[in-house]
C-alpha cells in the first residue's frame, strides 16, 4: 500500500509522476485533503482537468477508483445500493417450496448482504487491501438538491444507513474528489465539509508542459503556437472559451493532418475542434484568426530569439 504524501512538495511530485502538471496551489489543496481526510471540492469550467486529478491520484497511489457519475434524478438505487429483487423472489419461492414459514428467518435471509448490490458510494466504503479507494463524485451539479443532501451524511461520517441491515461504516475513509462544472450552485452545507479549489485555465508555460506530456507527437514549435493561440482566445469575449482538453485535441488534430505550422487555412479548417459554438466560430474564423495568428507568430519568434 502506497502511503499518502507527507508534504506539499511530495504531493506535487506525486501528481507529476502521474503526468499531471499541477501547480503549488492545487498541490496544497490536494495534500490537505489527503492528510486531513476531507473531500476535495474541485470547481471549474469544463475541460480543465478536474476529473483527471482523481484518476491520477488513484493511479499513483495504487488505489481503486470508484466513480459516481452524477445525472439528474440520480437516486439511492443507482448511487448507493439496490436489492437484487429477482434473486430475492427466487429465495422466497424456494423457502415456500421447502415449507419454511418462519417470517423472521426468511426476512433476515433475503435482506442480507448476499442480495445487496453495491453501487459506487457503498463500494467506496468496502475495505480494500490496497487501502481506501479514491471516490470520484463527478459533475455533482447535475444531480438535484435531494441527492446533495443525502451526500452530507456519507461525506461527513463516511457511513451509509440501510434500513433493513443497519449502518455500514468505512474502516478507513476513502479519498473523495468531488467535481462540479457549476451549472448550478452547490449548497454551502456540502461545500463547508470540503476543501475548495477553483481549477483555472493554466498559464502558457504550464499549458505547454501539458501539451508536451499529452500530445508528445506534435511538433514543438506547433505546440507553442497552439498554446499562444488558445491563450489569446481565452482573453476574448467568447461564449465558451476552449479548455485544456480542447488544446490537446487541437494539437493532436493538427498533427494528424500533418500540419507543422499554423496557417490561417489550417486554423479555419480545424476551428471546430477548439470552439463548440457556431457564434464563436463565426466570430473567429477568417480575418480575426489571421490577426491572432500574426500576433502569435511574432510572439513565438520573439521568444525564440530571446532563447
Amino acid at each position: 500500500m502506497i502511503s499518502i504524501p507527507e508534504n506539499v512538495e511530495s504531493t506535487l511530485e506525486l501528481l507529476s509522476s502521474g503526468n499531471y502538471v499541477s501547480d503549488r496551489s492545487l498541490s496544497t489543496a490536494v495534500y490537505l485533503s489527503l492528510k486531513l481526510g476531507r473531500p476535495l471540492f474541485l470547481e471549474g469550467e469544463a475541460g480543465v482537468g478536474k476529473t483527471e486529478i482523481a484518476k491520477v491520484l488513484s493511479e499513483t497511489l495504487g488505489r481503486r477508483l470508484v466513480r459516481l457519475q452524477c445525472y439528474e434524478g440520480l437516486d439511492v438505487a443507482s448511487a448507493v445500493y439496490e436489492w437484487n429483487y429477482s434473486a430475492q423472489m427466487i429465495e422466497i419461492r424456494m423457502a415456500e417450496a421447502e415449507g419454511i414459514s418462519d417470517r423472521d428467518r426468511l426476512g433476515d435471509d433475503i435482506f442480507s448482504d448476499k442480495f445487496l448490490i453495491h453501487r459506487p458510494l457503498l463500494q467506496a466504503l468496502d475495505p480494500s487491501a490496497d487501502g481506501p479507494p479514491v471516490l470520484l463524485i463527478d459533475e455533482l451539479d447535475r444531480t438535484d438538491e435531494a441527492f446533495e443532501a443525502y451526500l452530507l451524511e456519507v461525506l461527513s461520517d463516511f457511513q451509509i444507513t440501510i434500513p433493513e441491515i443497519g449502518t455500514v461504516r468505512a474502516d478507513e475513509p476513502p479519498i473523495v474528489i468531488i467535481t462540479s462544472n457549476r451549472t448550478r450552485e452547490i449548497h454551502d452545507a456540502l461545500k463547508r465539509r470540503c476543501f475548495y479549489y477553483w481549477v483555472d485555465y493554466p498559464d502558457a508555460e504550464r499549458e505547454l508542459e501539458i501539451l508536451r506530456l499529452k500530445a508528445p507527437q506534435a511538433d514543438a514549435r506547433l505546440s507553442r503556437q497552439v498554446v499562444e493561440f488558445v491563450q489569446r482566445l481565452r482573453a476574448m469575449d467568447l461564449f465558451k472559451v476552449p479548455g485544456i482538453a480542447e488544446t490537446i485535441d487541437w494539437a493532436s488534430a493538427l498533427h494528424q493532418l500533418d500540419i507543422i505550422e499554423l496557417t490561417p487555412d489550417a486554423i479555419d479548417d480545424t476551428l471546430g475542434v477548439l470552439l463548440k459554438y457556431q457564434d464563436d466560430i463565426a466570430k473567429i474564423r477568417g480575418s480575426e484568426a489571421a490577426k491572432i495568428l500574426d500576433e502569435v507568430k511574432s510572439e513565438v519568434a520573439l521568444a525564440q530569439a530571446a532563447n
Binding site: V8, S25, L32, E72, D144, E145, T183, R192, Y196, D237
Partner: protein, 436 residues
C-alpha cells in the same frame, strides 16, 4: 491566476511568528499568536461577507498546522482551501490576505475606522452595511497600490489615510431607490396571487419515483417487503409513480426609467415567487445586470427589498437589454439554466442601444431555456404594437408574449401569467406578423 505572490514582507513576519510561538501552542485554545491571527483574519473575512464560522477557524488552524509555515505560498493556499467556498470569493480573500498578513494591525486599524466596534462580536446592528464597506475598503486598498508586492512598507501609512475616506465610487450616474413598506393586506394579496398563478409550464416529470397506489410501475422494494410481511405466501404488488416538479424559474426584470412605476410591484412578485418555491433565480437589469436572488430570499419582504435596493445601482436609468442579456448569457446562463429553466423576461422592450446586438443574445437565451416568456407592461396604452427596434428583435425569439395593459396589482400580474396558453400564443403570432 494560479500562483499569487505573497508580498515578501509577509515572509519574515510569518517565520518570526512561527519561531516565537511554535506550532505546538496553536492547539492550546488558540494561545499561539498565529492561531490568534488566523482567528482575526477569519473575522475580517466574515466581515467582508465570506461565510466563515468558528468551525472554519479551527479548520484553518489545523490546515496551517498540516502544511507548516515554511512556504508562504502553502500558507496562502491552505487558508484558501478552507475559507473560500465559491469562485467569486477568491478576489476578496486574496486582497484581505495580502493586506492582513503584511500587517494585521493595518487592517484592524482600517476596520476600526469603518466601525469602532469591529472586534466586538455583538456589533450586529450595522453588520450588513459594514460588510459592503469593508469589501469596498479592501477593493480600494488594492487599487491604491499598483505596485503591490514590490512596494515598500513606507506606503502603509498613506494607505490608512486613504481608507479613511472610503466613499462609494460614482463613475456612472447611479441611483438608489427607496420602496414603500408593504402593507399586510398587500402581503396577503400577494400570497394569494402567487398561489393561484399558473405558469404555462407548471411541472415537469423528473427521474424520481414515489410510491403511489395508482402508479403504473411496480415498486419492487416495497413489494418484497409487503410480501415478507405476509410470510411470502402471496406477493401483493406495490406501485410507484414518476414524481413531478417545478422546473427552475429565472426572472429577468427591467428596472429602467420607463419601467420604474412597476418595479415595486414586480419586486413584490419576485419576492413572493422566490419564497414560494425552490430553484428561482432573479436578476434585475437596467444598464447592468444584478443577481438579486440572495437578497430576495429574506423572508421579510421589506427587508428583502431594502437589500435589493442596496445591491442595485442603476434604478430608473436607461436600458441596455442586449448588453444585459449578453452578460447573463456569458456569466449566468450555464449556471442557472442548466436544468431546463423557464425564463420570464419582464421588459417593455425599449432599448437605449437601439437593439444593438440584442438579436443574437435573445436568440441564445431562447435556445438555452425550456421556454422564454416575455411579459410586457404596455405603458397603459391599448393600441400598442411592437414597433420599437428592441421589441422587433425580441419577438421572434419568444415562446410566449404576455401583455398587461394596466398593471396595477400583483393579481393582474399573476393573472396575465396564468392566462390560458392559446391566448398568449395567438397574440404572439399576430404580433410577430406585425413585426415582420
Amino acid at each position: 491566476m494560479s500562483e499569487k505572490a505573497i508580498p515578501d514582507e509577509a515572509r519574515p513576519a510569518l517565520q518570526a511568528k512561527a519561531k516565537l510561538d511554535g506550532l505546538s501552542e496553536v492547539g492550546e485554545g488558540g494561545a499561539g499568536k498565529i492561531a490568534n491571527n488566523i482567528m482575526h483574519f477569519a473575522r475580517v473575512l466574515r466581515a467582508a461577507g465570506l461565510p466563515v464560522g468558528p468551525g472554519k477557524v479551527i479548520e484553518g488552524i489545523k490546515a496551517v498546522e498540516t502544511v507548516g509555515l515554511d512556504n508562504r505560498n502553502d500558507f496562502y493556499w491552505a487558508l484558501h482551501a478552507v475559507f473560500v467556498n465559491r469562485r467569486d470569493q477568491r478576489e476578496i480573500f486574496d486582497q484581505a490576505f495580502h493586506v492582513f498578513w503584511r500587517n494585521p494591525k493595518l487592517l484592524e486599524r482600517m476596520a476600526s475606522l469603518v466601525l469602532p466596534s469591529f472586534v466586538d462580536p455583538d456589533a450586529q446592528q450595522n453588520a450588513e452595511e459594514m460588510n459592503r464597506r469593508l469589501a469596498d475598503a479592501l477593493k480600494q486598498e488594492q487599487m491604491e497600490i499598483p505596485g503591490e508586492g514590490e512596494g515598500g512598507q513606507d506606503e502603509e501609512d498613506p494607505e490608512i489615510t486613504v481608507d479613511a475616506v472610503m466613499t462609494f465610487s460614482a463613475n456612472e450616474v447611479l441611483q438608489k431607490t427607496d420602496f414603500e413598506k408593504m402593507s399586510s393586506e398587500e402581503l396577503e394579496a400577494a400570497k394569494r396571487a402567487i398561489a393561484r398563478m399558473r405558469l404555462p409550464i407548471m411541472e415537469v416529470p423528473i427521474r424520481r419515483f414515489r410510491r403511489d397506489a395508482r402508479g403504473r410501475r411496480i415498486d419492487m422494494r416495497a413489494t418484497l417487503r409487503a410480501a415478507l410481511r405476509g410470510g411470502g405466501a402471496t406477493i401483493p404488488l406495490q406501485y410507484r409513480k414518476r414524481q413531478r416538479r417545478h422546473p427552475p424559474l429565472v426572472v429577468l426584470c427591467d428596472i429602467s426609467g420607463s419601467m420604474s412605476r412597476y418595479s415595486r410591484m414586480i419586486l413584490h412578485f419576485m419576492h413572493a415567487v422566490t419564497n414560494d418555491r425552490d430553484r428561482v433565480h432573479t436578476f434585475l437589469f437596467g444598464t447592468r445586470l444584478t443577481n438579486v436572488t440572495r437578497q430576495l430570499r429574506y423572508k421579510d419582504v421589506d427587508e428583502a427589498l431594502d437589500k435589493v435596493a442596496e445591491a442595485v445601482d442603476d434604478w430608473s436609468g436607461g436600458t441596455r437589454i442586449g448588453h444585459a442579456l449578453h452578460e447573463f448569457n456569458t456569466q449566468w446562463s450555464r449556471r442557472v439554466l442548466g436544468q431546463g429553466a423557464v425564463v420570464l423576461l419582464i421588459t417593455d422592450g425599449l432599448d437605449r442601444d437601439a437593439a444593438d446586438g440584442l438579436d443574437k443574445e435573445i436568440e441564445r437565451l431562447h435556445m438555452s431555456s425550456r421556454r422564454l416568456i416575455w411579459l410586457n407592461p404596455l405603458l397603459r396604452y391599448d393600441r400598442y404594437e411592437p414597433k420599437s427596434l428592441g421589441a422587433r428583435a425580441m419577438l421572434p425569439h419568444t415562446d410566449e408574449f404576455r401583455s398587461i395593459h394596466n398593471l396595477e396589482s400583483l393579481e393582474q400580474l399573476a393573472e396575465a401569467l396564468s392566462r390560458a396558453d392559446g391566448h398568449g400564443t395567438f397574440q404572439n403570432k399576430s404580433w410577430q406578423e406585425a413585426a415582420q
